[in-house]
Amino acid sequence: MAESKASTAQKSGNGGKLFLGGAIGLAVLSALFLNTGTTAIHPMDQFTVKPLFGGDHVGMLTITNVTFWLAMSVLAITLLLVVGTRGRAIIPSRAQSIAELAYGFVYKMVEEVAGKDAVAFFPYIMTLFMFVASANMLGLLPFSFTTTSHIAVTAVLALAVFLTVTFVGFWKNGTKFLGLFWVSSAPLPLRPVLAIIELISYFVRPVSHSIRLGGNMMAGHAVIKVFAGFAGLMAVAPFSILAITAMYGLELLVAFVQAYVFTILTCVYLKDALHPSH
């Protein structure tokens, strides 16, 4: 069996494949020793969009698990930012402290990264941050559905940012916004080449912006699910429970960091739109 594991590991080039090969080898090993029959691990099943009240068809207005968990994030944000601050206390309660912390965190980020004149966009950016952060965190609840692990969701968010930023750029600066692609500090012959590169990188932004968030969320949850599948096998259960715990801690960090990254990139793009000169 060790041979088979080694051969699969050698064939697979990168870490992910190596990991997958090792995991499958481990599964076969445990299945052989314990003879427990089939152990089905479907790490991607947790991302399936299902109608909440029966039926198979997912139409545009169908109430699905996506709808439910989106509503949960609205509820979580309302609880924190509205119910938590209902005291309006000079000396804040715990919930109010967290709400104020979130407010100050995003406000400072907008002000420092995108500039003072970007403060007008603060509610918009705060909405994005609160939604992504709450959806990421809610996705870590057992049996929950992570809305931000879906490219449909993150792509809409990223496209909204992209369109807003492009529109704001032309609206505030007119044709001067195109100066963003014309690197005036570079030597003249290089500028057209740089302009093409800048233009490509500008249009790649929404792609990287959305896939970074969706991919991170999906990968972490899938890995946890794989470990969770092994937890049913006696021989590897302690290892797998330990691994789930470690992954969960890492995912908590990733959930916050990805919300932060998504927001700060929005601020960076907004800064480019407001001040296109290099």
């Binding site: 697979s12 997958l20 790490p43 969009v49 169908t62 705060m126 909405t127 939604f131 969701v153």
Partner: protein, 201 residues
């Protein structure tokens, strides 16, 4: 596809290695195939309209909740707290100034009191000195008066003693003359005694 080939490799090796465990290996292959056939729900485009529709509703809901209620409230609380802190700091500054003033007033009062005390002490000392001078002068006068009186008294006593000596001498002389059997002439005896005493003196 890569996963598929791995899975088959694993299965082959597994069957090669252990014949009796063919069922279990088959199970593992099933598992791999199951994961493959499920695919990525993220790329199931039929669910996109549903997700996008509800996402837009959600984002709008959050945006309205934030702009209408949460953000103005938090901004208000933060501004109010800032104002309170600024006011408190100003009040503290004022109180500090007052404290400094009070300390100055206290020190001034203390210095005044000390000066007053020194003045009083000096005055008292002067008064005592004066009184002492007066008393000393009075005592001196009294002493001189007393000594004068005593001197007078002593003189008187001496005079009376001399008189007594005179009388006793005269009497003794008269007695002596009488015992010699001669008539006593009082006048002559007195004159002789007086002459004798004056000669001695």
């Amino acid at each position: 596809m890569a996963g598929d080939s791995h899975a088959t490799t694993v299965t082959e090796h597994a069957t090669d290695a252990a014949h009796g465990a063919a069922d279990a290996a088959h199970g593992a292959a099933d598992m791999a195939h199951g994961a493959e056939s499920a695919g990525m729900p993220q790329l199931d485009f039929s669910t996109f309209p549903n997700q996008i529709f509800w996402l837009i509703i959600t984002i709008l809901a959050i945006y309205f909740i934030l702009t209408k209620i949460a953000l103005p409230r938090i901004a208000g609380v933060l501004a109010e707290r800032k104002g309170t802190i600024t006011n408190d700091i100003a009040a503290a500054e004022e109180l500090k100034l007052k404290a400094v003033e009070a300390e100055k007033a206290y020190e001034k009062a203390l210095a005044e009191a000390r000066a007053e005390a020194q003045k009083i002490a000096a005055e008292t000392r002067a008064a005592i000195k004066e009184e002492l001078g007066v008393a000393t002068a009075k005592a001196d006068a009294e002493i001189s008066a007393k000594s004068a009186e005593s001197a007078a008294h002593i003189a008187e006593i001496r005079d009376s003693a001399i008189e007594a000596v005179d009388a006793v001498a005269k009497e003794a002389a008269a007695e002596i003359v009488a015992s010699l059997g001669r008539p006593v002439d009082a006048g002559a005896v007195a004159a002789a005694v007086e002459a004798q005493i004056k000669g001695d003196a």
